[in-house]
């Protein structure tokens, strides 16, 4: 096929090469091909790099938590962060299309949270995170971003975070990681929530583990239940270790502006 106009000849007999001139209604129209070769994620990637640089300067550790809607992100994180706020100055940015329901739930646990309403958008991107950083207090040590509930779109957008957590709840079934591979493939920590339902649901723990491991052989897999308290300490220790949080432990009274009283 001719590379210039798509006709069936190998080389276009009239206009060889990538430059062609066509005389159309008395005007000269010239066509040329410009080579670009850049990632189409570049725009978000540039914003994410700026965020990453800012986080490094501020010594701020950032986690991006992703899962389906209703899988228990807010319940688990408000419990976990309600405990962690005694040791670290921390805040949450929580994304939803509408309402401040989740930010209110964090506030009830004494966790500082800012709601981001994405309206039409199904994910958070790096620019939106940057725009919302200005409202957070100074000297934060840990920022948790609770992404919009969605297994597909959030996985594509780097926010500049250091750690990605993929959360899967038992009622979603064992096969979700295989159906939505990108999120589970790229996760640094994988949490299986609502594990108190394993028996009720006749949930196949071996099968879900096998499915997760086929995509991600090395990320810690933590079984959690906010009802029984299973896995909360393990998750806390995993985050402290992965992010070297203890080296930056909270000095009571020093950065108390990160707390809602």
């Amino acid at each position: 096929m001719c590379k210039d106009c798509g006709c069936s000849t190998a080389t276009h007999p009239l206009f060889p090469g990538s430059q062609q001139k066509l005389k159309i209604s008395g005007t000269i129209k010239s066509t040329r091909k410009i080579s670009i070769e850049e990632s189409l994620f570049q725009k978000n990637q540039n914003n994410a790099s700026e965020n990453r640089q800012f986080f490094a300067t501020e010594k701020l550790k950032v986690i991006n938590v992703m899962s389906s809607p209703g899988s228990g992100k807010t319940t688990l994180l408000s419990k976990l962060l309600g405990e962690m706020k005694e040791h670290y100055s921390l805040a949450v940015l929580v994304g939803d299309q509408e309402t401040t329901i989740d930010a209110d739930r964090y506030a009830k646990q004494g966790v500082l949270a800012k709601q981001i309403n994405t309206h039409a958008a199904c994910h958070l991107d790096a620019k939106r995170i940057r725009e919302n950083l200005v409202d957070l207090p100074n000297h934060l040590q840990l920022l948790v971003i609770e992404n919009v509930g969605n297994l597909v779109c959030p996985a594509v957008f780097d926010l500049g975070e250091e750690l990605k957590i993929a959360l899967l709840s038992t009622p979603e079934g064992e096969e979700k990681p295989l159906k939505y591979p990108v999120l589970f493939h790229d996760a640094d920590v994988i949490v299986l929530s609502k594990c108190d339902l394993i028996e009720v649901l006749n949930y196949d723990l071996d099968l879900v583990t096998k499915n997760i491991r086929s995509l991600n052989p090395s990320a810690p897999l933590i079984l959690c239940s906010t009802k029984s308290g299973l896995g909360i300490s393990e998750l806390k220790e995993t985050l402290e270790k992965s992010l070297s949080l203890k080296e930056n432990a909270y000095v009571p009274g020093h950065t108390s502006n990160a707390h809602i009283n």
Binding site: T27, I28, K29, S30, T31, R32, K33, I34, S35, I36, E37, E38, S39, L40, F41, Q42, K43, N44, A121, C122, H123, D125, V152, C153, A155, V156, F157, P181, V182, H185
Partner: protein, 82 residues
């Protein structure tokens, strides 16, 4: 549908290039979408004309190549000068 966000980014970037190059309009764009990129081809094909409406890319033909990896790449832009 995050494909619309990405289609708008593509149109913005291509518009910038058209301006730099002093070109009148784009006739075609060539991109690659990888299976692990998290971008759905048919959603992107649906979103692109919406993103391009009223721009210098409105009449541009979108040429998509598929791969099995994470690639989501803008290869080339064909432009016209009148």
């Amino acid at each position: 549908m995050h494909e619309l966000t990405l289609a708008i980014d593509l149109v913005d970037r291509a518009t910038e290039i058209l301006k730099q190059e002093g070109a009148t309009e784009a006739t075609s764009l060539s991109i690659t979408i990888g299976k692990l990129s998290g971008v759905d081809r048919s959603c992107f094909e649906f979103a692109f004309p919406e993103a391009a409406k009223g721009t210098k890319l409105e009449k541009a033909h979108l040429i998509i190549t598929e791969t099995d990896d994470h690639t989501f790449q803008f290869h080339s832009l064909e432009v016209t000068n009148v």
